[in-house]
Symmetry: C2
Subunit: 453 residues, 2 copies
């Protein structure tokens, strides 16, 4: 979902329809649309006719649907994404396609991923209000979500490539990750509700399977869809020859597949974040699943580190050092805000079955040491996930524009190598970098380009 | 399910009915009984009439149902258990009651636990053939399972109190735990099947909730249903004052509730094991859930340690040392057989998405170090679960006969104290005892009774 164009000019009002749907939480969301249940992909030509009689859409957009300005702006990986503008405002319409758009119809992908995106969006709105786009309408058989149009937000990855700053970026992300991690877990939720939700999300098999292979396994062998900058062959051979690295990556995969601690965003990279200079929003949770608390945090940090290492190709010498320094500050703020917010929620909202007050505060025993021990574990696992994400984005199927747009493959490979080697250090030796200062120092050392041996 | 009486005198033959049911795996098991769907508890008087026309039962028992010898032998905690004998043989009929029998109708407990027991039994038969009782018939609405009558097996706990030995006891348990842990995980199962099964088992909320509170939390505060030997007050105060202990127990609870690595038995104590001098069978998986690979192993070892510490009250001086030595050998065999069988399956049946051959053997890299690292983690967590089980069986609601039948409360408290203090050492410092010899030495030290300070 890339975004541009006019502001909708109104603050979105919750529709009756949406309110009712958002109350569906632990069971499968119902769909009471009167439309045909056979899936048909939308197009710019048909969207107005198909959605024009739905009040949650038509009242928000305004005017004759025949006159709506409709643009398809999907970034091409998986879905159709339309911006629909009328006399009153604008909405985004996102519809899943039954295959992976970037690969072709041969790679089938179930439409139900849109259902999990919807489930995730309504839960994120509860756990971390104001960060995910608001949902106005959901049509389950059509795998279609109508949601808030974010304007003038643009994809954060573009801003990082352009060298633009965003206020409170790390803080907002760290808080979002902490709030969703804590409030989606049995530290907070009643156990029956959390367990029913795990059951609901267990229906989502195809999407986690993509992450499982593309992220954790493909980088470390000659997988069919892999590609990488040719000059990286030596470092790729080094990584694949590192048995401890591969074993650790697989141990992290095991935690990812079998640890249902909390509801994840599941794909929290800088292409899933939209921002202005002062506003940060998080979109596209269609890879949502129950998983380890450390996962989203690690993914987010990895994408900042890749932005950091790619900067020498995007910045002039006079801007480079200051902008790279700012990215490291964002990383530090993200990690430290996660901990601070998690600790705050631990003290104020710990109402689940885990670490109950009966064992600690009610016996005049502080629980802050237990909280810190859990945060230390989360930090260490987050760094390992971070290193894995840094690898797969350079070696597996889906790459980042941060590196991919560097035309000079020699320069690209040099910068990617810094990124790969830091990733290796994080995966095999995460415990050494759990202090934020140690992590920042490691990034600076690799950025100096002297670590290749 | 306690067992005594005549042998059925025939080897049980798989019924059509059962075969069909056992093929139900990843979806919800169907129930095609023609009987009324309203639940009615069985009784000795009604059982023959209600089950006499079901071929899977009547052909196996034989004769006129009016002449069947029917005894109710449930041990009183949760269920009705009948032994039904006729002219051809015998079966066990187990039916869930809608409340906790040992507490009363005020503690409601859903009948669906019988469904999970059935699901677990058919999976255990596949993962570790010949250990769980064979299932002949399942009536879902009646929460009723007709299964193999084990004879002349008796509950292992009784044998341990009597000082009887069982050949290959530790080896059989260790292998069972390894086979169910490995084959129920994504090391072995196709991911879609495993994830669908996690979804199926996520419907079981009430039973895990019992374990969560009774095992992990109640021992460490003044929970309503707790009871303990009066002379233990000082050691109980010590444990509740150990904040690191409570934090670790809660961290293990978090892993228990949120780690769906494999399908557990869930209640693998010596009352869930039936044995002759040379045969070991494992019954009663109604607490089955997806959980950590370490859990069943830790529970089993804990129950042997409790048998070990209780022996001075049950043995004469001339038998004591040799029998205690034998129990320690069983523990060592259980732990070491778990590792050996897990390693064997790792090398021969690793067909899931975790630690795939593509990353190791196909690149001429051995994966045995990765296997050992995982086993080390499992061992450490198993010891922590072990320590927690050693605590809750002395401090929480459900106690063990090993200690409970010691009339002299002064002696009982001295032996329970040894058990509690070793449990404390295991919980807070599991990593120090991961070598089997270190664990055995720790048990011997505590058994000497000099650790109370």
């Amino acid at each position: 979902m890339e975004s541009s164009g006019q502001s909708p000019g109104q603050s979105p009002v919750e529709s009756q329809n949406t309110s009712r749907r958002e109350s569906t939480t632990a069971g499968e969301a119902t769909n009471d649309t009167q439309r045909a249940s056979d899936y048909v992909a939308l197009s710019v030509e048909t969207l107005g006719v198909r959605l024009g009689d739905i009040p949650a859409v038509s009242e928000r957009v305004g005017g004759d649907p025949a006159n709506w300005r409709i643009r398809e702006v999907g970034d091409g990986n998986l879905n159709l994404v339309f911006i629909v503008e009328g006399t009153q405002g604008a909405v985004v319409v996102k519809q899943a396609l039954p295959y992976v758009r970037m690969v072709g119809e041969s790679w089938r992908l179930p439409l139900y991923r849109a259902h999990y995106e919807y489930y995730a969006l309504v839960r994120q709105a509860r756990y971390a209000p104001g960060v995910a786009p608001e949902v106005f309408y959901f049509d389950k058989p059509q795998a279609l979500i109508v949601m808030e149009y974010l304007y003038p937000h643009v994809i954060l990855r573009r801003k990082l490539i352009k060298g633009e700053r965003v206020a409170e970026l790390g803080e907002t992300l760290g808080r979002f990750c902490a709030q969703t991690a804590f409030r989606g877990s049995e530290l907070s939720l009643p156990s029956p509700e959390k367990k029913a939700d795990v059951g609901l999300f267990s229906g989502n098999v195809a999407i986690p399977a993509i992450t499982e292979s593309l992220v954790f396994t493909d980088p470390y062998y000659d997988a069919e869809m892999n590609h990488h900058t040719p000059e990286l062959s030596a470092v790729v051979a080094r990584l694949r020859g590192n048995v401890a690295l591969k074993a650790k990556a697989q141990r992290m995969l095991m935690k990812f597949t079998a640890n249902t601690e909390t509801m994840l965003h599941g794909d929290l990279h800088s292409g899933s974040i939209m921002a202005t200079d002062a506003s940060v929003r998080i979109i596209d949770p269609e890879f949502s699943q129950y998983g380890p608390m450390a996962f989203d945090l690690g993914m987010a940090v990895a994408n900042f580190l890749m932005a950091y290492f790619s900067q020498p190709a995007h910045r002039s010498a006079d801007e480079l050092a200051a902008y790279q320094r700012w990215i490291l500050e964002v990383i530090a703020a993200c990690l430290d805000s996660f901990d601070a917010e998690f600790q705050r929620l631990w003290q104020t909202e710990r109402r689940g079955i885990l670490f109950p007050q009966t064992l600690f505060e009610d016996q005049q025993h502080a629980s802050d040491v237990a909280c810190q021990a859990l945060l230390d574990e989360i930090r260490e696992d987050a760094l390992a996930y971070c290193g894995i994400e840094m690898h797969r984005r350079v070696l597996s199927l889906a790459h980042n524009a941060d590196f991919e747009e560097i035309i000079d493959t020699g320069l690209r490979a040099r910068l990617e190598t810094r990124n790969l080697l830091m990733g290796e250090a994080l995966i095999v030796n995460a415990a050494a970098y759990t202090k934020t200062t140690a992590l920042v120092a490691l990034a600076e050392t690799h950025n100096a380009g002297t670590c290749w041996h």
